[in-house]
């Protein structure tokens, strides 16, 4: 790193880089450092242990539950909105040092609901993004693959759907739903390629 334009602002305790050589990855790194330092500075208890912030947990939980309540009343868009808010909050408001294992479980649980709702309301692209996020957190259950293949199928990305479905089948060879989906994808793919 040749540039020396990295500057520390003693007033707000943040670093910034205003040189020309600022790359995207550098910017992301700076943002992450800043986020962590703000979170630590704002912590009032100096001997804190990395536990979950109860206040945040409560808010997230209540938002999520209100979403589920909406779902029961069949108000899909509202339910999706609340759950999305809950997920966003879990991602944003939590300090980076809070216990990661619990955070991860929480977010995985909520994301799965969000994905289902997105698929139900026809927001396949959003769903796909969330599924990929979920997969990156290490989820490899068969239902994740089913949902991803389904979303890709709905988006007419048949080749991708086939690849995803094959991978799901490789990891879960006995999943009936995936097998059915695989047949469907192959049929649609043949049509897409004009082979029927």
């Amino acid at each position: 790193m040749a540039s020396t334009a990295l500057r520390y602002n003693p007033n707000n305790k943040l670093i910034n880089d205003d040189s020309d050589s600022l790359t995207e990855s550098r910017e992301i790194s700076i943002m992450q450092i800043n986020k962590l330092s703000t979170a630590i500075i704002s912590e009032s208890n100096p001997n804190f242990t990395p536990q979950l912030n109860d206040e945040h947990s409560k808010m997230i939980k209540s938002l999520f539950e209100s979403g589920l309540a909406m779902l029961k009343q069949k108000k899909m868009p509202e339910a999706l909105k609340n759950i999305t808010l809950a997920v966003d909050m879990a991602q944003r408001s939590r300090a980076p040092y809070e216990a990661f294992g619990i955070q991860l479980q929480e977010i995985q649980f909520m994301l799965r609901h969000k994905i289902d709702l997105s698929l139900l309301t026809g927001r396949f692209l959003d769903a796909l993004q969330d599924i990929e996020f979920l997969m990156n957190t290490g989820m490899a259950q068969s239902d994740v693959y089913i949902r991803k293949s389904d979303a890709l199928l709905k988006l007419s990305q048949f080749e991708q759907a086939k690849i995803c479905c094959e991978r799901g089948l490789a990891l879960h060879p006995n999943e009936v739903k995936l097998k059915a989906l695989y047949l469907e994808i192959n049929r649609r793919l043949a049509d897409y390629n004009g082979d029927i």
């Binding site: 690849i163 991978r167 490789a170 897409y192 390629n193």
Partner: protein, 660 residues
């Protein structure tokens, strides 16, 4: 040790020495050059001529190539092809002239002839052949001695004649002794002379005129310059070259930048063609071509190429620069693919291959890239006009020719036909069968060395899809010839080379290659370096099986008419020691065409080797059930065994470079 060296005063040795050295260099050089000029050229010409006859794509490729690119090709081809007056030929001609001169000198040098006379050959003196028996030798000796014996000489000879006669008689006697008397014979065999060792002189085979005071300075300078200046210069040049470029001909700095980008690559970043182009534009190769331009310029040039725009840099026409840069991308992308495989990053490798296609065809990656790679397509009409979802060549061919003309916006009948020819000649791969094969085994056994065997049908998008079950099983069997068992990959070498691709926007003529990547399904990580498939018969593409006229495959369908392509991919690792199945994803991506890829999932089922001995079977029968149980455990416990498999270090140049 003598302090005074003898030099070649009479010029009898050094011409031979020089002649030997010269011939050692010139003869092989001449032969290789002859081969290159006459035989290889003929072959190449024939190959391209045949290709033009056979392959319509090559012809159309030529037709649709713009004159700009043709000029560029000529300019850069000429450099290589003017081989009549190249330095190699000059060396050969000069060398032969020198040889002729030396031979002339040797034959006219009396000293050499004299010394050749001095050689003692008893057979010649006696006038018998080398294989003559003792009796023959004796009779020849008797005859000659009668003639030359000093007592029997005629009286009227002069003194001089007498002396020479006497000498001849001595020679004859010596020769006879050399062939009959044991002691003399030994002398002759050992020293080449019946009298024992002759006087020999050791010297340096340098002509004396080089050692004379004036020219000795030149000689010294020559020695010094060759050992102190020239030798180190050439060695360092060679060494720098090998050190500067990796095995894939990638500049070491470029490879380093690829590696550092992949190290810093965040999963949150999305790999796209644009990203790869940005990475490519930092290549050192481009900087060597055009030191004044910045990576930003190179990126613009590459993007111009993909979006089919004319390039201008600082208001000047930059098309030639663009072509040079684009042509270099071939090496860069192959190198980058290798680096991706070193990092085992399948996603990146796939995007790399997509970028390859974009650059070769000169079109951006969109849903309709398959259609846009055809010539004459009107972008506006295709985007606005179509009612149905038509994104693939296969779908396009479900419509009649006229309708296709309307869909693609081609009014001219000839042009439409050319477009259709291109479309129907782009190869597509249909998977027939894929297995893991261990030569000489029925199935994959623990720790065996399997290879991947994929049987495919190369077909045209125009042809009706032929179901796999139309092909009898025998056609899809692995050959069990001894030769094939010994080297299963040899049969792939016999396939014909891929014809010239239809890529009129690419600055050089090129042939399609399929890059085969193998990854684990578990973590979609690449297992080994890519395998490049350059030979595969495309004869099927010309078969007439139009999907618009043939609705059903009737009884007249003969599977024997179709050629089945065998793709055999070596696996870099052994099968694991544990039983169970391992799922792999095989991605076969074309470098040149959109829609010519294959992506499949395969399971390697590792099973217990068959029992050889009945008796053994009986003894272990009780345990057998246990083995079966553990089999099942293994199946469930798959993840454990797989992870071990994953941990095997894949060879990676990239990692090595990283360490450097």
């Amino acid at each position: 040790m003598a302090l005074n060296y003898d030099y070649d005063e009479t010029n009898e040795t050094w011409p031979f020495f020089l002649l030997t050295v010269l011939l050692m260099i010139i003869v092989p050089l001449t032969i290789s050059q002859f081969y290159k000029i006459f035989i290889k050229k003929d072959e190449e010409e024939q190959l391209t001529k045949e290709e033009f006859k056979k392959n319509v794509l090559s012809k159309l490729n030529d037709k649709y190539t713009s004159s700009d690119i043709k000029d560029f090709r000529k300019k850069f081809d000429n450099k290589k092809q003017s081989n009549i007056f190249c330095w190699k030929n000059l060396i050969i001609i000069g060398g032969w002239i020198l040889v002729a001169f030396l031979i002339q000198r040797i034959s006219s040098n009396d000293a050499i002839i004299d010394s050749a006379k001095g050689i003692f050959d008893p057979y010649e003196i006696l006038g018998v052949s080398g294989s003559a028996s003792e009796r023959d030798i004796k009779s020849a000796y008797r005859k000659l001695s009668v003639k030359f014996h000093p007592d029997k000489l005629p009286k009227d000879l002069s003194e001089q004649e007498k002396n020479s006669m006497e000498e001849t008689f001595v020679q004859i006697t010596k020769a006879y002794e050399a062939l009959t008397d044991e002691a003399v014979r030994e002398n002759f065999l050992k020293y080449g002379h019946p009298d024992g060792p002759q006087s020999t002189s050791h010297g340096i085979a340098l002509p004396s005129f080089l050692i004379d005071s004036t020219s000795s300075l030149i000689l010294v300078i020559f020695y010094i310059s060759s050992f102190v200046l020239l030798l180190p210069y050439f060695v360092s040049k060679w060494w720098n070259k090998t050190k500067l470029y990796t095995r894939n001909n990638l500049h070491i700095k470029t490879a380093g930048s690829f590696v550092s980008r992949l190290v810093n690559y965040k999963p949150s970043q999305i790999a796209t063609v644009d990203l790869i182009i940005e990475w490519l534009s930092h290549a050192e190769e481009f900087k060597i071509f055009y030191p004044n331009l910045t990576p930003k310029d190179f990126e613009t040039l590459l993007q111009d190429h993909i979006h089919n725009r004319d390039s201008k840099i600082n208001g000047k026409d930059a098309n030639e620069m663009k072509y040079r840069i684009v042509a270099k991308c071939h090496t860069l992308l192959h190198g980058f693919l290798e680096v991706c495989c070193g990092f085992r990053n399948l996603e990146m490798a796939i995007v790399c291959m997509d970028t390859f296609k974009c650059i070769v065809q000169g079109i951006p990656l969109t849903k309709d890239s398959q259609i846009f790679q055809l010539p004459n397509v009107n972008e506006e009409i295709l985007k606005n006009g179509s009612v149905d979802e038509i994104h693939t060549l296969g779908k396009l061919f479900t419509f009649s020719d006229n309708e296709i003309g309307k869909i693609l916006g081609i009014k001219d009948e000839d042009r439409l036909q050319e477009t259709l020819t291109v479309a129907s000649n782009i190869p597509q791969i249909k998977l027939l069968k894929a297995d893991f094969v261990v030569p000489g085994e029925e199935y994959v056994t623990p720790q065996s060395t399997p290879y991947i065997s994929i049987k495919v049908l190369m077909r045209s998008a125009k042809q009706k899809s032929i179901p796999v079950d139309k092909f009898p099983n025998e056609m899809l069997q692995e050959s069990d010839d001894f030769e094939d068992l010994k080297n299963p990959f040899a049969s792939m070498e016999k396939e014909p080379l891929m014809p010239t691709s239809f890529a009129p926007r690419f600055p050089t003529n090129r042939r399609n290659t399929w890059c085969c990547l193998i990854a684990l399904q578990k973590d979609i990580k690449i297992l080994q370096t890519p395998y490049r498939l350059e030979r595969l018969s495309l004869n099927n593409l010309s078969k007439n099986l139009d999907k618009r006229t043939v609705k059903e495959l009737g009884d007249d369908f003969n599977p024997e008419d179709w050629e089945i392509g065998f793709i055999k991919l070596p696996l870099g690792q052994q099968a694991p020691a544990e039983l169970g199945s391992i799922h792999m994803r095989v991605v076969i991506k074309s470098t040149d065409y959109f829609g010519a890829d294959l992506d499949l999932s395969m399971a390697m089922n590792v099973r217990e080797p068959p029992k050889i001995d009945e008796l053994k079977d009986d003894i272990y029968n009780d345990n057998d059930s246990d083995v079966n149980d553990s089999d099942d455990d293994d199946l469930e416990d798959d993840s454990g065994s797989e992870s071990e498999y994953t941990d095997i270090d894949t060879d990676t140049e990239a990692e090595e470079e990283e360490e450097k």
